[in-house]
């Protein structure tokens, strides 16, 4: 497809379960970002990849959060032992790095809404 896709769109997990969220970025986009968005708030940065390298993970809230992008395209965000406070929308965005007139324009997927019971 032409845009960023994410799956699943909705995920309900029991507290303590592990979840895996998938992101398919726009083909050829080098940069990939994960954000967490709570209700009524703006997206909060979690982590950033350039190709397969995770260059910034300063936004990950705890060591229960782990992200990977092994082949520089699809990325997975994994949350272990989910807690109720993990309930949020998880957004993935990708960016082409060489658009001089629009630096860092990010294309977002629709998000995965995670509800932890």
């Amino acid at each position: 497809g032409a845009g960023v896709s994410q799956s699943p769109r909705y995920k309900v997990a029991k507290r303590g379960q592990d979840v895996a969220l998938r992101c398919d970025p726009i083909s050829g986009h080098v940069s990939l970002f994960w954000y967490q968005q709570a209700l009524g708030q703006g997206p909060e940065f979690l982590t950033y990849f350039q190709n397969e390298a995770q260059l910034d993970k300063s936004g990950l809230p705890s060591d229960r959060f782990f992200a990977e992008r092994p082949e520089g395209s699809v990325s997975t965000l994994k949350i272990q032992r989910t807690q109720q406070e993990d309930s949020a929308v998880y957004l993935c965005a990708s960016s082409a790095d060489r658009v001089v007139e629009r630096p860092n324009e990010q294309f977002f997927g629709p998000g995965t809404r995670l509800t932890v019971l």
């Binding site: 703006g42 997206p43 910034d56 957004l91 630096p103 990010q106 629709p110 998000g111």
Partner: protein, 112 residues
Amino acid sequence: SQKIEQNSEALNIQEGKTATLTCNYTNYSPAYLQWYRQDPGRGPVFLLLIRENEKEKRKERLKVTFDTTLKQSLFHITASQPADSATYLCALPRKGRRALTFGSGTRLQVQP
């Protein structure tokens, strides 16, 4: 720490009027600022970027200003339409990093 503030209250205006949204920031001197639109259940969509050396940028009915002295950006939608109803987010690049810091957004409601 870097902080971005947007009006948390929803902005309600009549169709045809100009909507003006405000973005203020502190503890930061960004090279550029971006505005995004977000509809319910969807991810944000990029609208406009303005650089620190630009005072104003226009795109169709949209206009953005950037005052680096006041540390403020204004986002205007002229001749507003009900289809413009959405949440508008301003975003700044995180200092020394690629990721963006977003404001909490302002919800705009245009009444027909």
